[in-house]
Symmetry: C2
Subunit: 260 residues, 2 copies
DNA sequence: GCGGGCATGTTGTCTGACAATTGACGCTCC
DNA sequence: GGAGCGTCAATTGTCAGACAACATGCCCGC
């Protein structure tokens, strides 16, 4: 067995994850609507047990990448274009733009340090009055401003010095490069807004012009908020989309606390 | 075995799915950060094998609902508020509003039948010139218009007669009630737009006012487009959000492949 | 008192088997 | 000759049990 090259088998990352990656390549190498090898064959080929393969397979089915039909086989789904470049994966504007082949530059940047308000302190899990760092900057593509971003995070997490030295336009990328604290998920709220005067000035547009607005909380693995970000995009430059699955009625639900 | 009540075991839906639902209840009934029962215990309790349970568990982990630590246990993740009411689940405005306790009414409705253009024919997988149904309506909450929706779908899928009889404001809900064709995912593109004159009139707002705009393709399980919808929302009424997970490092350039 | 080995419980992975479902082939009967 | 039906092989769905890897706390020896 063990047909996977050693650098893949001996890696210290969980086998399931590596299997999922290998499976991703297999899926990518199969035409849309095409039939995948059978599970026993694939498991043999990847050097893992069928159970492990099936866990990865299940995740792929969950994401809508493959369709399984008992007694028939597993097929690569005819996929909506750009399936995995949607909002479900958190990445910086810079990373997104680079993937799309659109070069972007960071424009005017300002950094402010100020004590936190009571609300903010609670949100970040720090003491009231502890310092926050507020980083705002303009992102430009082809010489034209296309986005205005404001990040707020405790100064204890990111020092001004480190910001000066390592910041290349994205707080997210900086935190990812550093690897600490470990990041979990981002909860992003989406709405539309008209440009306030200051933002209009930064983006060289008219006051009141239409903007797409993201307000996001970046959560660490321990559930604490690490970074709060506010993003304003000129509509039409970036295309944001999200895959929505049909909700099984019995799913959502009572999390005990009936808030809102 | 078979501790699950019969109505759950004998159901014709796949066991894995029912297990996932049962697991959802267990997770919902566990405090945040709490420890779940061990996998063997849970499997016994749900009347399924550990392998099946693990597939469901894996899906939950994938969605960020639980955290598993080898040698320790599985914990319910401290979740960002409102975790599963985000955009990742496709539901109609009516369903969403009902869940939030906000009563909505359907306002002016128009239905048009017209032949498809070449582009549309390709999109829906029908012959050019085949009829399409175009349903537009206003959604109002507390007497005030808050959304304007336009659905377009082949007349072969939904007849004018059925539309007249069963339509209660949502094409999605209608298709779900009917159960045919089986629905897969929806790919929704998100942007901001200023209100065109006609839409402004429908929503009783000024021309040029800011709107949140969703353009969605509803895909059947076979990958074909079933319905195309365009939605305009007044910002601030509905709160849309999405959970974004950190992208797996599999994509960026591998830096130190020398050893390890 | 203190440190290290060890017992115990958990998740991670593997193996092999059988059940359920599907599609195709061949056979029978008309 | 053709239509209908049973059989069979291939595939996914599910199961049971085992062992490995790992984390934690207890207990024993020092």
């Amino acid at each position: 067995m063990a047909k996977l090259p050693p650098e893949r088998r001996d890696n210290r990352r969980p086998l399931y994850q590596r299997t999922a990656e290998a499976l991703a390549e297999v899926v990518a190498g199969t035409p849309e609507g095409g039939l995948l090898p059978s599970e026993p064959a694939l498991a043999r080929c990847l050097g893992v047990s069928r159970a492990t393969l099936r866990e990865a397979m299940r995740a792929f089915e969950e994401r809508g990448l493959v369709v399984r039909r008992q007694g028939v086989g597993t097929f690569v789904r005819r996929r909506p274009p750009l399936i995995e470049s949607g909002l479900e994966v958190l990445e910086s504007i810079e990373t997104l733009a680079a993937r799309k082949g659109l070069p972007v530059q960071m424009g005017a940047r300002t950094v402010a340090r100020r004590p936190s308000t009571s609300d903010e302190a609670q949100q970040f899990g720090i003491a009231e009055g502890d310092d926050l760092l507020e980083v705002s900057r303009v992102i430009a593509a082809e010489g034209r401003p296309v986005a205005f971003l404001i990040d707020t995070l405790p100064a204890a997490i990111l020092s001004e010095r480190e910001l000066r030295e390592s910041f290349r336009g994205s707080v997210l990328d900086l935190l990812l490069r550093r690897g600490d604290p470990p990041l979990g998920v981002s909860r992003t709220e989406i709405t539309a807004a008209s440009a306030a005067p200051e933002i209009a000035r930064h983006l060289s547009i008219q006051r009141g012009d239409v903007l797409l607005r993201f307000e996001a909380g970046l959560y660490g693995r321990d559930g604490r908020v690490i970074d709060h970000s506010l993003s304003y995009f000129l509509p039409g430059i970036f295309r944001f989309h999200v895959l929505r699955r049909i909700g099984h009625p019995a799913q959502a639900g009572r999390s005990g606390t009936a808030e809102e």
